[in-house]
C-alpha cells in the first residue's frame, strides 16, 4: 500500500515536468539561459580579442553568474532554496577567505613577473586560473555576485518579519503564547497586583512597557536590533554597488612627475605640473646619539590644467590631497564628481626625484561611505543592544504568566528574567520554588 503511494507520488512528479516546474516556465528558463549564455560568450570573445581600457570583467562575471543561476533555476525549487540559504552564504565566505589567503601567498599583478614563479612548471596553469590576479579574476568577482545575490535574498526574506517585530510588535497575546516562550514562569495568585509590580520592576530595568487592549502587557528593550542587523547586511550591497560603479565608470591612475615636468593624466585631458618637490627629514636620536635621519614629510607643489587652462594649484602632502570639483574629465552619468590627486610616494631616479601621485575619480564613493556608516552603526546596534521581549498576562485563575525571548546573549537575558520572577515571588510573599 505505502509502496504504491510512494510510486504514485514519484510518477506524478515526473509527469508534471523534470523539476516540478510547468512547461511554459521551463521554456522561459531555457530561453533565458540560452540568451544569457550567448551574450556572455560574445562579450567574452570581444573582451579578450581587444583588451581596451574599458574594464569589462565586472560585467562578464555578472553575466557568468546569471547564466549559472538560471541553469540552476531550471533544476527546480530545491536548488532555489539552496541558493538563498545561509549554508551557501557561509560556504561563500569560506571560499572567499581561502582565495584571499592564496592572494596573499602568491605575488599579485605585475610583481609576479619579477618573482621566481615565472620559472615554476605550473606557472601557466596558475596564470590561466587567475591565481596571480585573484581579486580581479572573473570567478572571484562571480563569487562576489553570488554572495550579493544570496544576501539580497536573505534580506528580502527577513525584512517583513523584522519590520513587524520592530514597528508592529505583538502586544495583545493569548495565554498559550506567553507560556510557550523559551523562558516562561507562572506566579500563582499574583493577579493584577503582581502585574503592577512586574511593570514597575521592568521599568526600573529600563524596559519599555506597552500595555495592550486585552489586558496583556509587553515589555521590550533594544527593539531596533533586528533592523540594525538588516542595515548592516544591506551595507555590503551598497559598498558592492559603489565599488562596481567605481570599477566600471571611474578611473584610477598612477602618475609620475619629476620636478619641473608637466605630464598628461592618462584617460583624461588633464595635465599636471610639479613645480617643487620637498622632503623634510628629522634626525633620529637613540640614547642621545644621532643615528641617522628619516623622512617625516614630503610634498609636491602641484598645478592642474584642463585644456590648457589652470584649474587649481596646491602643495599636496601624504594625508592632504588636492580635490578638484570644478571639472569632470570623464563624462559619467553622475555629474560633478571630485578628481583627487594624492601624494602616494616618491623615488630617486638618475634624473632627479620623481613624485608618485595617485589620481582618481570614484563615482559611487558616496554610496561606499554611506555603506561604511550603515555597516558600523548597524553592527554596533545589532550586537550591543539585543532585542529582549517579555510578555505578561493574568490568567483565568488569577495567576500571572511571564514569558520572554531574546535574539542574542541568552544568559544575560536569563538574568533579567530571573530578577523579574524572583522580585515577583518575594513581593508576593511566595516561596522561591523554581530556584536552586
Amino acid at each position: 500500500m505505502s509502496a504504491g503511494k510512494a510510486a504514485a507520488i514519484k510518477g506524478s512528479k515526473t509527469s508534471e515536468s523534470l523539476s516540478g516546474r510547468s512547461v511554459p516556465d521551463l521554456i522561459f528558463y531555457l530561453i533565458l539561459v540560452v540568451t544569457l549564455a550567448l551574450v556572455d560568450v560574445t562579450l567574452s570573445i570581444y573582451y579578450y580579442r581587444n583588451q581596451s581600457g574599458f574594464d569589462m570583467r565586472w560585467i562578464l562575471a555578472g553575466l557568468d553568474i546569471s547564466v549559472i543561476l538560471s541553469v540552476m533555476g531550471l533544476a527546480g525549487k530545491r536548488v532555489g532554496h539552496f541558493l538563498t540559504s545561509m549554508k551557501l552564504a557561509l560556504t561563500m565566505l569560506f571560499v572567499i577567505a581561502i582565495l584571499s589567503i592564496i592572494g596573499t601567498w602568491l605575488p599579485q599583478g605585475e610583481t609576479v613577473l619579477e618573482s621566481g614563479w615565472v620559472k615554476n612548471p605550473l606557472y601557466d596553469v596558475y596564470r590561466t586560473l587567475g591565481l596571480f590576479n585573484v581579486y580581479q579574476s572573473r570567478w572571484f568577482l562571480a563569487i562576489l555576485y553570488l554572495l550579493a545575490f544570496n544576501l539580497g535574498f536573505c534580506i528580502f526574506k527577513r525584512f517583513p518579519t523584522t519590520y513587524r517585530h520592530t514597528l508592529k510588535p505583538r502586544v495583545d497575546v493569548k495565554e498559550k503564547f506567553v507560556i510557550n516562550q523559551p523562558l516562561a514562569a507562572e506566579i500563582a495568585g499574583a493577579g493584577e497586583k503582581g502585574m503592577a509590580i512586574a511593570r514597575e520592576t521592568l521599568s526600573g530595568m529600563r524596559y519599555r512597557i506597552r500595555p495592550g487592549q486585552t489586558g496583556s502587557v509587553m515589555a521590550e528593550k533594544g527593539r531596533y536590533s533586528g533592523l540594525a542587523s538588516i542595515a548592516f547586511h544591506l551595507s555590503f550591497l551598497l559598498i558592492g554597488i559603489g565599488a562596481m560603479l567605481g570599477a566600471v565608470f571611474g578611473f584610477d591612475e598612477t602618475v609620475e612627475i619629476r620636478e619641473g615636468q608637466t605630464v598628461d593624466v592618462r584617460g583624461t585631458n588633464l595635465k599636471a605640473t610639479n613645480y617643487d618637490f620637498q622632503i623634510k627629514y628629522t634626525d633620529v636620536m637613540e640614547e642621545g646619539r644621532n643615528t641617522g635621519s628619516m623622512p617625516t614629510e614630503y610634498s609636491t607643489d602641484l598645478e592642474v590644467f584642463a585644456d590648457g587652462q589652470s584649474l587649481e594649484r596646491k602643495v599636496i602632502t601624504v594625508n592632504g590631497p588636492l580635490r578638484i570639483s570644478t571639472y569632470n574629465p570623464v563624462p559619467t552619468l553622475l555629474a560633478s564628481l571630485k578628481v583627487n590627486f594624492h601624494q602616494a610616494s616618491y623615488y630617486q631616479s638618475d634624473r632627479g626625484v620623481v613624485s608618485v601621485l595617485q589620481v582618481n575619480q570614484g563615482p559611487g564613493k558616496s554610496l561606499i561611505y554611506l555603506g561604511f556608516f550603515l555597516m558600523m552603526g548597524g553592527i554596533c546596534f545589532s550586537l550591543y543592544f539585543p532585542h529582549r521581549r517579555i510578555w505578561l498576562k493574568v490568567g483565568d485563575s488569577g495567576e500571572l504568566l511571564v514569558g520572554g525571548r531574546t535574539n542574542r546573549a541568552k544568559v544575560t537575558f536569563q538574568r533579567d528574567f530571573e530578577r523579574l520572577t524572583s522580585e515577583l515571588r518575594v513581593k508576593m510573599g511566595q516561596e522561591d520554588k523554581a530556584y536552586g
Binding site: 596573499t104 623622512p295 601624504v318
Partner: protein, 361 residues
C-alpha cells in the same frame, strides 16, 4: 638637568613604570596559577589588587610615551605590543567584575606577561619620527579600535579553551584534557618560535623595479633560522603542554573552573563585542587609506588578512545566532579564531610585504 619634567627623565620614568608593570604581571601570573591550584580566595583578591596596580603603572607608562613621542603609542613593535598587553589586562579586570572567571587569570595574566615582556625586548626610544602616512588623527582611532578587538578575541579564546577543558573534565575524558593542553601549547610555541626566529633572520630589503614596493628577500640561512625557531618552540612547548595537561587532569581542577554556561557566554560575548570593533577598525582603516593613498581598499596583505579574520568571526556569529551552534563547536571556533588574529596581527608584518609593513601593529 634639574627639571624633573625634562624629556630624558620622563623617558626614564616611562621605562621604570613599564618594568614595574611587567614585574607585577609576572608576580600576578604566579598568584593566579597558585589560585587555580589552591583555590585560596585571598590569593585571587591579592592578585586582582596587584594586577590593578600593575595596570595603573602600565597606563602611566603609555601616557608618558604618548607625551614624549608626541603621537599615540602604537607606531612600533614595542608600543603596539605594550598596548595589546594593556588591553588584555584591562578586559580581564573588567570581565572578572561581571563574571565569575577569576580562574581564567591563570591563562590570561601569563599571556599578558608574555606579550608585555616581548614588547620590552623590542624597546625603542620615543624619538623615532613617524612615517609620513602615519601622521594622521586616524592613527590612534584605527589602531586603538583594532587592538581592543584583538584583546576581546583573546578573551573569547581563553574562555573557549577553558570550555573545552571543563567539558572534558566533566566527562572524565582526561585524554582530551591532555590533548587540548598539548595542542594549545604546541601552537603557541610554534608561533612564538617562528616569530622570534624571524627576528633573528636578516633579510635583504629589495625594492621592486616596477611597483617600487619594498619586500624582504630571505636567504636559505634566514629560512633556517625562522623554521628552526619554529621547531624548537614547537617541541619545547609540546612537552610543557603535555605536563600542564597531566597536571590539570584532576577532578578538583574542574571545581575551580567557571561553569560551562558562564564560559560559553563569556566566549560569545568576547566575539560579540569584538566583532563590531573589528568592523569599525577595518572601516576606519579604509577611510584613512582613501585619504592618504586615494584608494579605500587595495588587497594589501594586512587588509586582506583583516578581512579573513572578519569573515571568520562573521561565520562564528552566523553559526551561533542563526544555526544555533553552542558550546563545544563555538568554543573550537573561538580558539581557532585567535590563530587567525595572530597571523593578521603579527604574521603579516613579518612574512608579507605591503603598505602596512612599516607599521608594526
Amino acid at each position: 638637568m634639574g627639571n624633573i619634567f625634562s624629556h630624558d627623565l620622563l623617558t626614564r620614568y616611562e621605562e621604570i613604570l613599564f618594568i614595574v608593570a611587567v614585574i607585577s604581571y609576572l608576580v600576578c601570573s604566579g598568584i593566579f596559577i597558585w589560585y587555580l591550584i589552591s583555590r585560596n580566595e585571598k590569593a585571587a583578591q591579592l592578585g586582582t589588587i596587584l594586577l590593578t596596580m600593575g595596570l595603573v603603572a602600565h597606563t602611566f607608562a603609555l601616557a608618558l610615551r604618548w607625551g614624549t613621542s608626541g603621537h599615540a603609542p602604537m607606531s612600533n613593535t614595542y608600543e603596539s605590543l605594550s598596548l595589546f598587553g594593556w588591553g588584555i589586562v584591562l578586559f580581564f579586570l573588567i570581565a572578572q567584575r561581571f563574571y565569575p572567571i577569576r580562574a581564567a587569570g591563570a591563562l590570561v595574566v601569563p599571556t599578558a606577561f608574555l606579550i608585555t615582556s616581548v614588547a620590552g625586548v623590542f624597546y625603542q626610544g620615543p624619538d623615532i619620527p613617524l612615517a609620513p602616512a602615519l601622521q594622521s588623527i586616524w592613527l590612534w582611532i584605527h589602531v586603538t579600535i583594532a587592538m581592543l578587538s584583538y584583546g576581546l578575541f583573546a578573551l573569547a579564546f581563553g574562555a573557549g579553551f577553558l570550555y573545552i577543558i571543563q567539558e572534558n573534565l566533566l566527562k572524565k575524558n582526561y585524554k582530551g584534557v591532555v590533548t587540548s593542553f598539548t595542542l594549545l601549547f604546541a601552537a603557541l610555541g610554534l608561533v612564538l618560535g617562528l616569530w622570534l626566529g624571524s627576528m633573528l633572520a636578516e633579510p635583504v630589503t629589495v625594492q621592486d623595479p616596477i611597483t617600487r614596493t619594498v619586500s624582504n628577500d630571505y636567504s636559505f640561512s634566514d629560512y633556517f633560522r625562522i623554521f628552526g625557531g619554529g621547531f624548537i618552540g614547537l617541541f619545547v612547548f609540546l612537552g610543557l603542554g603535555y605536563f600542564a595537561g597531566k597536571g590539570a587532569s584532576k577532578r578538583s581542577f574542574s571545581n575551580i573552573l567557571p561553569s560551562l554556561d558562564v564560559l560559553d557566554e563569556v566566549s560569545y560575548r568576547g566575539v560579540a563585542f569584538g566583532f563590531p570593533l573589528l568592523t569599525i577598525g577595518i572601516v576606519t582603516g579604509a577611510i584613512w587609506a582613501d585619504q592618504a593613498w586615494g584608494r579605500w581598499w587595495g588587497w594589501d596583505p594586512k587588509e586582506t588578512w583583516s578581512l579573513i579574520t572578519w569573515l571568520f568571526y562573521g561565520g562564528y556569529l552566523h553559526t551561533r545566532l542563526t544555526m544555533g551552534w553552542r558550546g563545544k563547536h563555538s568554543a573550537i571556533l573561538a580558539v581557532v579564531g585567535l590563530i587567525v588574529v595572530l597571523i593578521t596581527y603579527l604574521g603579516v608584518n613579518f612574512f608579507f610585504s605591503g603598505l602596512h609593513s612599516y607599521a608594526t601593529g
